[in-house]
């Protein structure tokens, strides 16, 4: 059998990885349209045929939500795109989102067998194709919903983690009520990730699917303020609470002049443009940030999003990052796109001071050159300032994109929720149970700012254990056979 396969399949490996049509970079830098156009059906089938359908696929383990990748790809090769999407939905509530924003190069595609000799199969693009196909063709039939269990679960935060948990629990027959602090659902998918990377219609489609599953969604509802976790459990009769509130508290640099007019957190910069639609001002009332030159400080995906948004708002755009290119945490593809579109990179450079005028308006940024020293805790070489190398960059806006920590509103009002010194919630990684009985958490609120898919991976675990918890089953069994349960 193995030999047979080898004889019939190898040709396909020689088909090159199919490129995705993209906008011309200089043109796309001025608009908010999505950058890659997505595979046409025929290209998707060609790409799907490159998959070896490995008996022991490594890609599935590489996926934080363990999508049965060979199976969904097989459906695409057979041109059964609907089944491909259905396959995806068994493991992910957000295939159209993940296909776009997942760092596949360091997950499923990194371990793809095809990738050992050639370019790996474009799993992300295929996932996106299948999800887009069903969305554009009327969606999937409503999935089966288990008999109502009579259990009621509160999901706090309508971001990737919350959507995942809500979808699973609703399918398993629980009554799910979701609370979102902002006026729109989607969390970081809506306020953070820009339109050109993730069209908002896609997020809306995914959230609408939740409503069809019977999930009740309350926007404008700030848990910790409008209602507390204790009230949810004790007064409002929830059997369990899931916290997926993400990492929304922006960090600043603590340098002089940081409260100048013109210094923004990446959250504010992106929220104005994405959530509040300031690019359509004054049809939308939120003021846009109009600048001649925007400097983004940081090297993550959010920094790339900010820098590319700045270009689209008509500004000159520069990224200042204290380490080297290889150490940038952003996805290669995002850095590459930013470079292509004309973002200027000043690497091994760190801001030291925001220079302001008499009216506290920013005139520019004083920066210092850095060099790489000994490795730090993260294993990356620590950047150290080069003495006397300060210089000035003229700019009217700086976007600080050096990370976020979790919003403290919920821990503040639930003192029995244990937090780490970074403000993240303490949760058992096998069950995602927090220190508070009946309360589970997953995503950035547990792990600190990370990726959409890792949040979803944790959320899958949380959903499973919330189910066990409300159904009175033991939560999990560790290697010693000892039970650890929510109420123990």
């Amino acid at each position: 059998m193995e030999d047979n396969k080898k004889k019939t399949k190898p040709k396909k490996v020689r088909v090159p990885r199919q490129p995705m049509p993209e906008q011309n970079p200089l043109r796309r830098a001025k608009n908010f349209e999505e950058v890659p156009y997505g595979y046409p059906a025929d290209t998707a089938v060609v790409e799907a045929n490159r998959c070896l359908q490995c008996k022991k696929p490594l890609c599935v383990a590489g996926c934080p939500v363990n999508i049965d990748i060979p199976a969904f790809i097989k459906f695409i090769s057979d041109r059964d795109f609907t089944s491909a999407a259905a396959k995806l939905l068994e493991q992910t509530a957000l295939p159209a989102v993940c296909g776009r924003v997942c760092p596949q190069e360091s997950q499923c595609e990194e371990v793809c067998i095809v990738g050992k000799k050639a370019e790996p199969v474009a799993i992300g693009r295929l996932e996106r194709f299948a999800a887009d196909f069903v969305r554009e063709n009327g969606g999937l039939p409503k999935p089966e919903i288990a008999e109502p269990t009579g259990k009621k679960i509160a999901v706090i935060g309508a971001g990737p983690a919350g959507i995942t948990v809500a979808g699973d629990l609703a399918r398993w027959g629980h009554k799910v009520i979701m609370y979102e602090a902002l006026h729109l659902t989607g969390g970081v998918l809506v306020y953070g990730i820009p339109q050109f990377r993730l069209p908002k219609e896609i997020v809306k489609f995914e959230v609408d699917a939740l409503t069809k599953l019977g999930v009740e969604i309350h926007t404008d509802y700030v848990i910790g303020k409008t209602e507390t976790v204790d009230d949810l459990l004790n007064k409002l009769g929830f059997d369990a609470v899931f916290i997926g509130t993400g990492a929304g508290l922006p960090m600043f640099m603590n340098i002089p002049g940081e409260n100048a007019i013109g210094v923004f957190s990446a959250n504010e910069f992106l929220t104005r443009i994405n959530l509040m639609k300031a690019y359509d001002f004054p049809n939308y009332a939120t003021s846009p940030i109009r600048a001649k030159h925007v400097i983004t400080v940081g090297g993550g995906n959010v920094a790339m999003d900010s820098a590319r948004c700045a270009l689209r708002m008509g500004s000159k755009s520069t990224v200042v990052y204290r380490r080297a290119r290889e150490q940038m945490p952003a996805r290669d593809e995002e850095i590459h796109h930013a470079e292509q579109e004309g973002v200027d990179f000043r690497l091994l450079t760190n801001p030291t001071k925001v220079v302001v005028d008499d009216n506290n308006r920013m005139l520019g940024l004083e920066v210092i050159k850095m060099e790489l020293g000994e490795p730090d805790d993260s294993g990356r070489r620590r950047p150290v300032p080069v003495e006397g190398s300060e210089y000035f960059i003229e700019a009217d806006v700086v976007v600080v994109s050096i990370g976020n920590s979790p919003n403290p509103l919920i821990p503040q009002t639930s003192p029995d929720l244990e937090t780490t010194r970074w403000g993240t919630l303490v949760a058992d990684e096998k069950t995602m149970l927090t220190s508070k009985p009946g309360v589970f958490a997953a995503g950035d609120v547990v792990s600190g700012a990370a990726t959409v898919i890792s949040a979803m991976g944790q959320a899958k675990i949380a959903a499973e254990h919330i189910h066990k918890h409300v159904m009175g089953q033991p939560l999990t069994t560790d290697s010693d056979g000892e039970e650890s349960d929510a109420d123990s």
Binding site: R27, H183, G248, E268, P282, R361
Partner: protein, 832 residues
């Protein structure tokens, strides 16, 4: 003409016979104060400020209406005159909101708030768009005694926004009569006059009908000549005094009227007539729409070319290469240029030369306000035209479907721009230098005074560059003068049917084929057509308004159904409101809540767009989003005496705090400030609730003269032992209170009001410096130690978007929903 010699203040002066005493004085450098007089108006004698003493004449005649006579001995500055003038000024000012003029904090206030604040109706100078240019204000401030002892008679007129282009605030009117006199001078029969008599005398149209129906042609002269802020240009008013203005010519229609555009911050914010004179009058389009078309936010800014069925913005180099390449292939094969005559001669000339000389094609000239000729349309339908370059919006869906290759050089988006192979954005009106030939044949010079938006460029330059890129030498011009010189025999443009300066129905409705009313919403009210607009996003769910009324001018009380918030609200907390799906997330203070009824109450001061949206809401309507309760409840001392100071919306904000303090057994003293007695609210409720209510008004019309800082000082000075001060109000008030109480050794809590976006700690827009720390007002506040706040930083950060806030102000006519609500609930205003 015979000259008359007379003596003014001991100086012998001469004036032509028929001149007035005022003329004689002014001509000879002798100042006599006036309000109603204007050099371009006939004498009137309404304001009485110009009174003089004339030997041998009884009383104090007005110099503006007294003809000069031979040998007259006139005195203009006697003690009696000065005293009388001051009294006249007092009477005038008593009918005009004047608290800022007599406020002891005026200079500090204007230092920290150099521009007047946007608002609904102006209740004082600090909220009057005319402050930088107000004749009355200047006179009061210049008068030897600026004490105004007469009480203010505030008329309580609602601001009138139902007419296009103008906001009218009759509370500010001093009945100088300049407006109707200029109207009469320019139009013969004036559209406006003084209606009613005595206390209720008010400028208006006959029977108070809409100005649109009154014969008003919207020339704007009344607005421009008004010495107070009564009549204002809705679009321009909050931009402030223009930086520069110059004389130019309107090229929207072929009449080519002279006008004076004015610029603020690189943007044309308004146009006026060049003189107060019948011949110089403008039509509504020239006076109002001109600036709004130029400032339209949907102006095309970047060149765009089509790629994969999508128009993608690009740079000029790429665009020129792309278009030149495409046009090169289409040369001599059924090319048609559709050229608007509403353009400079130079642009039209170069377009024509390009279409015929370079492209070997044809030209269809579109006269101003006209549409595509049927014959041309038939040619396109019949397939005799292969490619089209259009400079405006002239092609409907059916015609568009017949055009193989379409190129657009225009200023605004249209159906054509969405179908085109390439769209090149162009400069218009005051962005373009050159010349214009009017219907009468006269050539007028146009100068460019502002830059076009984004990357838009001058049309003849784009065409010349395209021609060069296509290898043609025919259009090599190095300056606009070179193009002008090349024009030898251009015909005057086709005249316009009708007279837009005299009839609203004759107004041009299009500019380059685009409906003018799309850019200048006021024109819709005049019956001009406009494109259908997508309706605002539907509100699903939302928060129902149970009760709403205007408690004092600009302050709106709303009770809204929000059970969850009502259950959890605590004193000192706030909410974030989005009236519509397109609104900003705006923080407002909670005034009260009722957990049982599931309602919350807030007080909202109408300032900019977001609070105007709230003000325009009606009882029974819904608010799209209300989020809360946000912020940390105020921390209160265990016991003792607390003095709470409130001003503006802060009066409402301190109410729940006072109640909580009272309930926990504190001694509570309430210090309320208002600019004037008629803007003070809730004093009665506080008297019922608290131990003592003390009041300060800026004009002294009730209580102490001054503000919360004076009240706080007085409490300490009389020997009351105070454990805590709390102050809530505008940044200026809280800052002044902080400065006053800094050395008293009594803690001060203030509720800060920086700009917020999400209100939940996510964005950091609301960061404030308190002591050594940066705090987020939304999650760490709103209450902070007033003595540790960096007030300079807060004040400046609050001004960060002042220009965008003005741009966001609504321009449509009407939408003042408060009037109706007021009549229903006027009784409640007194109660609460």
């Amino acid at each position: 003409m015979d000259m008359i010699t007379l003596t003014i203040d001991g100086k012998q002066v001469q004036i032509e016979e028929g001149g007035t005493v005022l003329d004689a004085a002014r001509r000879n450098g002798i100042e006599i104060p006036t309000l109603c007089a204007h050099e371009d108006l006939p004498d009137f004698g309404a304001c009485r400020m110009c009174i003089v003493e004339i030997k041998g004449m009884r009383g104090y005649p007005t110099s503006c209406t007294t003809p000069a006579a031979e040998g007259m001995e006139v005195r203009t500055e006697t003690e009696a005159l000065i005293s009388l003038r001051n009294q006249i000024l007092e009477f005038t000012a008593s009918g005009h909101p004047n608290s800022c003029l007599v406020c002891i904090h005026r200079e500090d206030c204007e230092r920290y708030r150099p521009r007047p604040s946007k608002t609904g109706q102006a209740t004082r100078c600090a909220f009057c768009s005319n402050r930088p240019d107000c004749a009355l204000r200047e006179m009061v401030l210049d008068a030897s005694s600026n004490e105004l002892n007469l009480p203010t008679l505030y008329s309580e007129y609602k601001i009138e926004r139902d007419d296009p282009f103008m906001d009218r605030d009759h509370n500010l009117c001093i009945l100088c009569g300049r407006c109707w006199r200029i109207c009469e001078k320019i139009h013969g029969t004036p559209a406006i006059s003084i209606n009613h008599r005595g206390r209720w005398a008010k400028i208006g149209s006959a029977f108070d009908q809409s100005y649109v129906d009154s014969g008003c042609t919207f020339c704007g002269a009344c607005i421009d000549i008004c010495p107070t802020g009564t009549l204002t240009d809705r679009f321009a008013r909050w931009y402030g005094l223009p930086e520069l203005s110059w004389r130019s010519t309107c090229t929207i229609c072929p009449q080519g009227c002279d006008l004076t555009p004015s610029v603020d911050g690189g943007q044309v914010t308004g146009t006026r007539m060049t003189a107060y004179d019948r011949d110089a009058r403008l039509c509504a389009v020239g006076r109002f729409a001109y600036a709004q078309v130029m400032s339209a936010t949907n102006r095309l800014r970047h060149p765009m070319v089509r790629e994969n069925d999508e128009l993608i913005p690009t740079d000029w180099e790429d665009a020129i290469k792309h278009v030149a390449g495409a046009l090169g292939d289409l040369k001599g094969d059924g090319f048609l240029a559709i050229i608007d005559e509403a353009n400079t001669r130079e642009n039209v000339f170069v377009y024509e030369a390009f279409a015929t000389g370079v492209m070997n094609g044809r030209v269809a000239r579109i006269a101003s306000n006209c549409v595509l000729d049927d014959a041309i349309a038939d040619d396109i339908r019949a397939g005799r035209v292969k490619s089209v370059l259009t400079t405006g919006d002239h092609l409907d869906d059916e015609i568009l479907s017949k055009i193989e290759h379409l190129f657009v050089m225009d200023c605004l988006p249209s159906k054509a721009t969405s179908e085109a192979e390439a769209v090149l954005p162009v400069a218009i009106l005051s962005e373009v230098a050159g010349s214009f030939r009017d219907t009468a044949g006269e050539v007028k010079k146009l100068s460019a005074a502002v830059d076009p938006p984004g990357r838009a460029r001058i049309e003849w330059e784009i065409i010349a560059e395209l021609a060069a890129a296509m290898g043609s030498d025919a259009l090599r011009y190095d300056s606009v003068d070179a193009v002008t010189k090349a024009i030898t025999d251009d015909a005057p443009p086709a005249p316009l049917a009708g007279s837009p300066r005299d009839n609203l129905k004759d107004l041009p409705s299009r500019y380059r084929g685009h409906y003018l009313a799309d850019s200048a919403a006021g024109l819709k009210a005049m019956g001009l057509p406009s494109s259908p607009k997508p309706p605002p996003k539907e509100i699903t769910g939302g928060f129902r308004i149970i009760k709403k009324y205007e408690v004092v001018p600009n302050f709106h009380m709303l009770t809204v159904e929000a059970p969850a918030i009502a259950r959890h609200a605590k004193p000192g907390q706030f909410i974030i409101v989005m009236v519509n799906e397109e609104s900003e997330r705006t923080p407002f203070t909670l005034l009260d809540w009722d957990a049982q009824a599931g309602t919350i109450t807030m007080v909202v001061e109408e300032l900019g767009r977001s609070s105007r949206e709230v003000a325009d809401l009606q009882e029974g309507g819904v608010i799209a989003h209300v989020t809360g309760p946000l912020g940390v409840p105020i921390e209160l001392p265990e016991k003792g005496t607390v003095v709470l100071g409130g001003g503006c919306y802060g009066i409402g904000a301190i109410y729940p705090v006072a109640r909580a303090l009272k309930q926990s057994g504190h001694e509570v003293i309430i210090a309320l400030e208002a600019c004037s007695a008629h803007t003070l609210y809730m004093a009665h409720e506080f008297r019922e609730l608290c131990d003592e209510v003390i009041i300060a008004t800026k004009d002294g019309s009730e209580g102490t003269k001054g503000g919360v800082q004076e009240l706080f000082t007085s409490v300490v000075e009389r020997g009351t032992k105070v454990d805590l001060f709390i102050a809530v109000g505008c940044t200026f008030m809280m800052r002044m209170v902080a400065e006053t109480t800094r050395t008293m050794g009594i803690p001060l809590q203030v509720a800060l009001n920086p700009i917020m976006v999400d209100g939940t700690g996510m964005c950091g827009a609301c960061r404030v410096s308190v002591g050594e720390d940066t705090k987020f007002a939304c999650v760490d506040g709103p209450f902070f130690d007033g003595h540790a706040v960096d007030w300079d930083e807060l004040g400046l950060r609050r001004e960060a978007y002042s220009r965008e806030e003005v741009e966001a102000m609504p321009q449509y006519a009407g939408g003042n929903g408060t009037a109706a609500a007021l009549t229903v609930t006027a009784g409640c205003a007194a109660k609460l």
